[in-house]
Symmetry: C2
Subunit: 306 residues, 2 copies
Amino acid sequence: MHTIGLDIGGTTIKGGLVDRNGRVLRSAARPTDASDIGKLVGTLENLVGHLSRNDPVGAVGVGVPGLRSSDTGETVVSPNVACLAGVNVEAVLGDRVAPPVVSRNDADMSAWGELCAGAGIGTRYMVCLTLGTGVGSGIILGGRLYNGSRGYASEAGHLVVDPEGLPCSCGSRGCLEAVASATGIVALARAWLGPGEREAVPEPWTAAGLYEAARAGHKASRTVFEQAGRYLGIACASLINVLNPEAIVLAGGVMEAGDLILAPAVREARLRAFDASFGACRIVRAKLGTDAGVVGAALFAAHVAG
Amino acid sequence: MHTIGLDIGGTTIKGGLVDRNGRVLRSAARPTDASDIGKLVGTLENLVGHLSRNDPVGAVGVGVPGLRSSDTGETVVSPNVACLAGVNVEAVLGDRVAPPVVSRNDADMSAWGELCAGAGIGTRYMVCLTLGTGVGSGIILGGRLYNGSRGYASEAGHLVVDPEGLPCSCGSRGCLEAVASATGIVALARAWLGPGEREAVPEPWTAAGLYEAARAGHKASRTVFEQAGRYLGIACASLINVLNPEAIVLAGGVMEAGDLILAPAVREARLRAFDASFGACRIVRAKLGTDAGVVGAALFAAHVAG
């Protein structure tokens, strides 16, 4: 039976009816009401009805941004969708729709999607880093989503890659997110580009704009992506040395920069990780694009519901 | 039934007959012959005979330094005991002694000891860092030793904590081991202590000598331990954010410096890790001292042999 995946983002809730192979059969999107949990849950319920069209659906999976307690199922804190704090999405939505509902962290769901239907197929030990506005991550160990003792694990976006580096939204500094997310790349550029180098980048600066400038031959913008790539490679080396995964899958809008960021990342990881461990791990781009969260949530729901 | 634990170190092989509670009933030590695998295995066999005194023994556990392949059971590389490369210790020793033999990485065995009979009792998610000449680590997830896809995991001594930091024996730079092992602390001091600050530390410099100087009021030596502690805290924060453990247990000779290194480590980890994850994790000193490897190997053998 098909399942539904829902992916709650900071501005948009995406949903899809997905088959067992991870193919999206129908999809829909609604704006996120980040301040009103009643409306937000209503939107989720509405999406389930819309996507199922009253056909039987095996289960619903929801990717929820923020830290989720595995003890209570509640979201402890969700910086971008504040109304989720203290809410157990699977319980609240489960009361409103017929199929069983399961929820996990949104980055975990994306990782599950890449594992089952994307760049991680065939692996059982995999890390997926999603480099977007922030850096989310999901970790698969022994074929299972790893959540840690309380559910707070797999925040690899907050591996420290430069102890005196740029400040991070989490309160630390030099986290991977602070220097290799889309926001981090812009911050790196603001810190690095000299007076004569700034004109080539159109305001307001974005990671995409910097990428276009780099592609057009702007050396300073290129250096920013190389440095972000080096930081990404440092994080990969640490993950390889600690977790010995078979694959690190790199997703998110930042990876649209392709080899400009991927090549220095792989080079740096090779320099720093143990040879045996590096050799056992491929570092590759994700395959599911912006569907990863929806596909992963649907396939995870199918997995849990049996 | 009692079990035997053997711990192969760079200079000494330690062994013990251990009861189910982790109490060492008999112990013995022999020099390590790092260049002759035949002699080394002979020493292991001799220790098993000596410790068992022909009484029945349930199983033998061996802590082996270096990377161990979980596919073949062979040690892939062992910088300090070179003759172990390519050797499957549990197979070779298993042919020579009556009880079943199991081997794992030495730092994994120490972690298992602390889990079952030391500072990690009661936890199921734990990281043990052993700060000695190098920095070994063992990771317990869900009550089980975590070894990764090929057995190379849990090299947390090679988390990068300072990308432009001191060179590490592994070929990278700024690894935890390069700045917070006994060797790393001496290297930090050589890089940091000014001309007028060097006389207070007796040659040849050791971490223990620097600690004595710090205790006697030598400010520059104190600063070295504080900086090493900060690096240790950065590694702890990364481990907390990625793994969400219940405890990080700090072992090894370096931790004899007590609060001089522990206090800045805890402070730095609190500053950098997510509050919810930090709050779920205690950072504590190990309890088993230099027996951890022997006790852990014996208890792990008991665990595997059932």
